[in-house]
């Protein structure tokens, strides 16, 4: 069984981000980029399934500009067997990514797709769900535990939900999105980084896959959150109600 893992190149989580002067987005020039932490967890889970003998191959997939190949190489260094790079400039919104995934699934025919629950740059939390919807596959999102049963061709996923933990049983092929507590991703070792250089990476463009990536959404403006104003001490409940009504306009 083949596992496809989605990995995204995002601004490193430790970097202090800034909004560009023209408010068109966040400053990404000269900023450290890394693999999305949830994607690392997804890849780690796929590798563990493969090492348990339940899968034959792990394919890492990334979509984005030319430099996304670095993220793919990190994935290969962690242990993925092959990489696929869909080279696309411009913003890729979750629906476009999901459509591209569907096109790749028709070529690769994996038995399982694992993605991170969300990317730390846009926090959409949509791509995994959309992929499952487009393919008509079952989904186990916010996974904190994954147990594959090869015989029965199903996977048990513990999901982290508001009320606690929910366990679902999915028939393969399925889509899983990973949450933080699923596992601790491994480090890419030096020898593995070297080996990764020779692992094959296939390139596609959205045109080759017959997918239109133009989105119905357009980012109009990106601004920093307003600076926190100093708190105000009120002397009575009446004054509080007055402020809530006439200043904050919340009642």
């Amino acid at each position: 069984m083949k596992i496809m893992v989605a990995v995204k190149r995002v601004i490193d989580y430790a970097v202090k981000i800034r909004v560009k002067a023209d408010k068109s987005g966040v400053e990404t020039q000269n900023v450290k980029m890394s693999m999305n932490p949830f994607c690392e967890i997804a890849l780690e889970e796929a590798l563990r399934i493969k090492e348990a003998g339940l899968a034959s191959e792990v394919v890492a997939v990334t979509m984005g500009p030319k430099q996304s190949i670095d993220t793919l190489r990190t994935g290969l260094a962690m242990g993925a067997d092959r990489g696929i790079h869909v080279e696309a400039t411009g913003d890729l919104f979750p629906l476009a990514v999901a459509k591209l995934f569907k096109a790749l699934v028709e070529i690769e025919k994996p038995g399982l797709i694992i993605l991170g629950k969300q990317a730390i740059d846009n926090d959409c939390n949509q791509t995994g769900q959309m992929v499952a919807g487009l393919l008509g596959w079952p989904q186990g999102t916010f996974a904190s535990k994954v147990v594959l049963d090869k015989e029965k061709q199903e996977v048990m996923v513990d999901r982290e939900v508001d009320g606690g933990l929910e366990t679902v049983c999915l028939n393969l092929p399925a889509v899983i999105t990973t949450d933080l507590r699923l596992n601790q991703p491994r480090y890419a070792t030096l020898p593995n980084i070297m080996k990764a250089k020779s692992k094959p990476v296939k390139k596609y463009t959205p045109e080759e896959l017959n997918v239109a990536t133009k989105s119905d959404l357009e980012v109009v403006e990106v601004t920093e959150p307003p600076k926190r104003k100093a708190g105000v001490l009120v002397s009575s409940v009446d004054e509080l109600i007055d402020k809530l009504k006439n200043e904050a306009h919340v009642i």
Partner: protein, 639 residues
């Protein structure tokens, strides 16, 4: 997931599990006598392996089943475990090469992807191209990416870059802002007095060294250099004769209590026929090398002296921005007994670099270089430039001020020290990048000769002394030591040096006490009341630290080691009132009350900026800075 972490090759002979962790070794604990050793001659085996690789990159991967039959070489490598018993001292310093970890071999291993390290790597590959041979070159870098730990003023003199990569402009090096003006001010609390500028920055550029190094990294990769960021060299590997044969990288995935985490990964041994140390100022492994091989004694060098530089990059109002404007100041906020000054350089894109450099031989234990820097920004001549601007990044790093008097003999068996780890910064010019790069190039030429033409590494020392680096440093040698006599004598002697002797003075001044010994006891001074940060021009340490993009995995052993864990509460606190809580620009050291009410030293290792101030300034040299897990530390991009 045991299959992954075990790299033990079945074909290796003679190795037994290494029971003492490498952390124990780092602390110099007694050697585990139960280990068996093979007695084969290690250096001979190494020579055999390496001679066949003179024309072919010598890289063998042992312990990896995917690479099939390497049994011959891995058997030879297994013989590199040291002898038992006879070399107690040597083994405490160096570690066994092949004990239970993968090993990779290169012709040259370079520690540190900074200006010196990358210049050496590029020069090696250039020489290979010229002579039609090839050498495998590997650069390890503890920062998460190339440039992440690089911070410098920086007014760049392109002399060495012109020699190394003369097409740098065509190849779009991030060097575009020529110095447009050069001001020198003497500051008092309220005023700034213009003085004649002692600098000649006519053909120099205002740059971000972090960006330049990142560009150099991509150039090096184009030449075929292998660069591995995110890997920290934590041990020096030696053979039986005490020659350095490479370095070992840190184990990753070790928990705070020393146990192995789920994703534990044993470090890798990187073996080089030549190993170059380019760790920057006060390099942790370089310091060990200098001590072990008595490199300072070898040429009667004095101790190194240092300064701490604290810097911010601001994005300022368009109307106030003058690309290429260079300002240096002396005087306020530092007093007459404390050497140091500030810099303000206008970069490109409305960015301005501003910083304060404080010599670490300051006497008052209550001095806080960080707080002095915050004061500086409020000066009436500086404030208007920064007003309405925002801070983009913050950082700090120590730098060398010892000059030629403090340069150790830079060659040892198996390798050499280049760049600021040896200490080639020209203090009166306040520039060290060009000399660091040149030293890297010269060491590369010597290494090339050693590996392929039968010469030896000592030629690096010879070429260094015959180069413009030595000529420059010789002319610059008296300026800094002059100030040890005080501000006015310092200025007077400097003027005499500059205008009268023009660098040809017949005497060489010596440095005073080592920095850590210069600190007076707390009772001879009183605490300094620093103003509270206003959040607009001045900030508290946590806010600044956040801007350095510093991060370390919290669940790892603290990389700042105390040789004597009781000393902080027994000496540092009572005698000096805990100066580490003030000179550390990252608030790593804090004295917090325990339940009993007693104050105890708390080490917030996660904050560390890797500046090395504590390693230098701790009065009893009790704090030892060692490398944390690779990839941690600051994330400089425009510094």
């Amino acid at each position: 997931m045991n299959r992954l972490v075990s790299f033990r090759s079945k074909s290796r002979i003679g190795t037994t599990p290494c029971s003492s962790s490498f952390y124990a070794r780092l602390l110099g604990s007694s050697i585990d006598a139960s280990r068996t050793r093979s007695t084969a001659n290690a250096s001979d085996s190494l020579a055999t392996v390496s001679r066949c690789s003179s024309l072919v990159p010598a890289r063998t991967l042992t312990g990896s089943s995917l690479f099939g039959s390497r049994n011959g070489s891995s058997a030879r490598l297994s013989n590199l475990t040291g002898h038992g018993g006879s070399q107690g001292v040597a083994r405490r310093f160096c570690s066994d090469a092949a004990a239970e970890r993968e090993s990779m071999e290169y012709d040259v291993v370079i520690v540190g992807a900074g200006p010196a390290g990358l210049s050496a790597a590029i020069r090696l590959k250039q020489l290979c191209g010229e002579k039609g041979v090839d050498l495998s070159v590997c650069v390890v870098e503890k920062g998460a990416e190339v440039g992440a730990h690089i911070i410098s003023g920086n007014v760049f003199e392109p002399r060495a870059l012109d020699e190394l990569l003369p097409e740098w402009e065509k190849e779009e090096a991030p060097i575009s802002v020529s110095v447009s003006s050069d001001k020198f001010w003497f500051l008092t609390k309220d005023r700034a007095f213009s003085l004649p500028s002692p600098f000649d920055n006519k053909n120099n550029y205002v740059i971000s060294l972090s960006q330049l190094v990142r560009w150099m990294g991509s150039k090096a990769e184009e030449y075929g250099v292998e660069i591995y960021p995110g890997f920290a060299a934590s041990e020096i590997l030696c053979d039986d004769n005490g020659s350095v044969i490479g370095i070992g990288t840190n184990d990753m995935g070790v928990a705070k209590n020393g146990s192995k985490k789920e994703n534990f990964q044993r470090g890798v041994a990187l073996k080089g026929r030549v190993t170059l140390f380019a760790e920057g100022c006060r390099g942790s492994l370089s310091e060990k090398i200098i001590k072990k091989y008595h490199l300072r004694e070898k040429r009667n060098a004095q101790h190194q002296t240092y300064a701490l530089g604290i810097k911010e990059v601001w994005e300022i109002d368009e109307s106030k921005h003058q690309p290429g404007a260079v300002i240096h100041t002396l005087g306020w906020p530092l007093d007459q007994k404390t050497y140091g000054g500030s810099f303000l350089y206008h970069m490109s894109e409305r960015q301005v670099a501003i910083g304060l450099v404080v010599a670490l031989n300051y006497k008052n234990p209550y001095l806080s270089p960080y707080e002095e820097f915050q004061k500086l920004k409020h000066h009436p001549a500086i404030k208007p430039i920064l007003e309405d601007g925002t801070v983009i990044q913050y950082g700090a790093r120590t730098l060398n001020e010892g000059g030629i008097q403090s340069v150790p003999y830079p060659v040892f068996p198996g390798g050499a020290i280049i760049g600021c780890s040896a200490g080639f910064l020209n203090v009166p010019k306040i520039k060290g990048t060009h000399t660091a790069m040149k030293s890297g190039m010269l060491a590369a030429e010597a290494a090339f000769g050693t590996l392929l033409e039968g010469s030896n590494l000592d030629s690096y020392w010879t070429t260094l002394q015959n180069s413009w680096v030595w000529e420059e440093l010789h002319k610059a040698r008296n300026y800094r030591p002059a100030f040890d006599h005080g501000f006015i004598p310092g200025m007077a002697i400097s003027a005499v040096e500059h205008y009268l002797f023009r660098g040809k003075s017949p005497f060489t001044l010596k440095h005073g006490k080592p920095d850590h010994e210069a600190t007076n006891v707390a009772r001879s001074h009183s605490p300094i009341e620093y103003p509270k940060p206003d959040g607009v021009l001045s900030f508290d340490v946590p806010t600044s630290l956040h801007r350095s993009n510093t991060n370390h995995d919290h669940d790892q052993p603290a990389h700042l080691k105390l040789r004597d864990p009781e000393m902080p509460t027994q000496v540092n606190l009572p005698e000096y009132d805990g100066p580490e809580s003030r000179y550390c620009p990252a608030r790593v050291y804090e004295y917090v009350p325990e339940e009993s009410g007693q104050l105890k030293l708390q080490i917030n290792a996660q904050n560390c900026l890797h500046c090395k101030a504590c390693d230098i300034k701790d009065p009893k040299q009790n704090i030892e800075w060692t490398v944390p897990e690779g990839g941690g530390g600051p994330g400089y991009s425009v510094m």
